[in-house]
Symmetry: C2
Subunit: 362 residues, 2 copies
């Protein structure tokens, strides 16, 4: 279990998997920068006739907005290929024929997805504390709306004490549904700050409510179940590709999918080793079927390796997936498979070859 | 272990205990209403020469403000007898000779206690999110103050996303001290709402910081250790009186004090039975030495019981500790000790007797 991806494995995956489910941040891009090779890989899979879905815990965009972001970065995506938690939460309530009103600790995109299913909601937007009241006295002006039978918590930059009080008061009622889009504690960004994630907002409601919400996002399996139902997917022919063992890989394992961990985001190989060694059944779900240093390696290595295996010479251009330091690693590995990844030549860009051949390149 | 308080036990306690540590809310008063019998009990203990301390997890008042509240409700109290978490947090940092600046998620009273020890701090007051920035973009305008080497979290009605981000960013730094006044999830009040407690505010910082704070308040023992040091107390001759098994009683057990659980607040006798039966070492600390239906019973029952035991007739007046329904319970118990609590007569108030005796009472 958990082999590094290789040309043979890539071929196997290509034969056995019809549907690729991609986590986005840390896999396809970091912040707004595409991770080299990801674009080509997704496009390549689509060209092979594979179905591609984008599965994100993000609750701050509608499906339409998220598809727009994908397209802007170059990834082919339609609304139907997006599974985000703002949408899944609304779909969940729609599917259960929910008739009451929803108290939302969230953002306008969550409101839009609820509106599309004609679900009544309130709470989105600022709700600051009254300067003239001490914390506890907020209660004196508070009346609970008897129509509210659901609390839905997602990312909310306007989280406030009055919101915590109201959400916890509703969630504490036994007949009130309590949903959270996801529980990511923080957003993995390359900044010297901590960016609190939706899990922080959820904690500020579930701690006073003394109740656990039903979580819509990964690692819970609800997102996959919705997708499976909509597209009649066979989990055995699905592969989840993600950068987080706790969320992406765990959801895949529990849902019966194969999984590929890419090391461009949250989790590391040493994390995987720890999970393997733990003997703990929960941690066992964190171990991926395969891993790759980056998503591009699902198709990378294949060019040079194929050439080597066929006895051809090869030229690696460094404008794409592989780097010179990758090559150094392959050389140093002493591993016969990795040895096939070492090119005969390399060039900083293909134009170099053209120039050397005397072509007219500016 | 865990006997109901009786005249004999009360006598024993009176002989063996010099220092009484009272939790306040749920023991002495509920909200702003004194629990019948509490006032007389505290005054009675003081009259016997016992030392009395008020030990509260409350972080929204200075010691001076809390003493004022006690006095207003009729309880004799000076600043030196108050141990509250706003004060203890400042004392803790003072005792360790802390020299940096403190980022406070808290309230003005916490600031006052820090000021009294000349501790530098920032962060108290509103810090709302910028309407023009998406959640994540807050980061673009954020610079961390290198002087800040401590994060202190207490009750803060102005808790906000920017505060969570800043506090978590500082607390994430390895050389930053991370303190919380207390972790009470909610405030036990007789309202149909949930009033989020300081534990809610603390959760919104510790979840993104992925780090546990050092907690100043109960059930941690820091408050008692400070008091012990200041007044040279022998824990064996101290009794903690509280309404919460998780906080008051646990702190007492771990500190080597005796404890009395009063059933006028958070915990119930059935809770105690569960803790006893659990066989779990942590839950064992929740089991009090004694319990009483209300604090007044520490001295109540004694009047009537003494009379009965001495062969006197007795008149119970219902303006104080005991109620008619208490008497019904004693009668129905079939227990010989409780039988001694049943008075010969009762009166709604003493004036009734006077009137019946023909005294001139308006």
């Amino acid at each position: 279990m958990c082999d590094e991806i290789s040309p043979n494995i890539a071929k196997e995956i290509s034969n056995n998997v019809d549907n690729f489910l991609f986590d986005c941040d840390g896999v396809l891009w970091n912040a707004n920068e595409v991770i080299p090779g990801s674009l080509e890989t997704v496009k390549g899979l689509k060209a092979l006739g594979k179905r591609v879905f984008y599965i994100t815990n993000n609750s701050t965009k509608t499906r339409a907005e998220y598809a727009e972001k994908c397209v802007k970065l170059g990834f082919p995506a339609s609304e139907e290929e997006i599974v985000c938690t703002s949408y899944i939460s609304a779909l969940y309530l729609h599917n259960m024929n929910f008739q009451g009103k929803i108290y939302v600790v969230g953002n306008p995109s969550m409101g839009e997805e609820l509106d599309r299913f004609d679900l009544k909601h309130t709470g989105i937007g600022p709700d600051p504390p009254d300067d003239n009241q001490a914390g506890l006295q907020v209660v004196s002006g508070l009346t609970l709306d008897p129509e509210i039978k659901c609390v839905l918590v997602g990312f909310d930059k306007y989280i406030s004490y009055p919101k915590m009080m109201k959400a916890a008061s509703y969630a504490r009622q036994k007949d009130c549904i309590f949903l959270a889009t996801n529980e990511d504690t923080h957003l993995p960004m390359d900044v010297p700050f901590v960016i609190p994630g939706t899990g922080t907002i959820v904690a500020s409601v579930k701690v006073p409510a003394r109740r656990e919400p039903l979580v819509m996002g990964k690692p819970e399996t609800n997102m996959f179940r919705c997708l499976q139902k909509a597209h009649n997917l066979d989990p055995a022919r699905c592969m989840m590709v993600g950068d987080s063992c706790h969320t992406d890989i765990s959801m895949a394992t529990v849902s019966g999918m194969q999984s590929l961990l890419v090391l461009t985001g949250v989790s590391t190989l040493s994390n995987v080793d720890t999970y393997k060694a733990s003997g703990d059944p929960t941690q066992a779900t964190y171990v991926p079927t395969y891993y790759a240093n980056k998503l591009g390696l699902l198709r990378c290595n294949t060019d040079i390796s194929m050439a080597t295996n066929c006895g051809m010479q090869s030229l690696l251009v460094l404008t794409g997936v592989s780097t010179l330091s990758d090559v150094e690693t392959y050389k140093a590995s002493g591993d016969p498979t990795q040895a096939t990844y070492v090119p005969t030549y390399y060039a900083n860009k293909l134009g170099q070859l053209g120039k050397l051949l005397g072509f007219n390149i500016p």
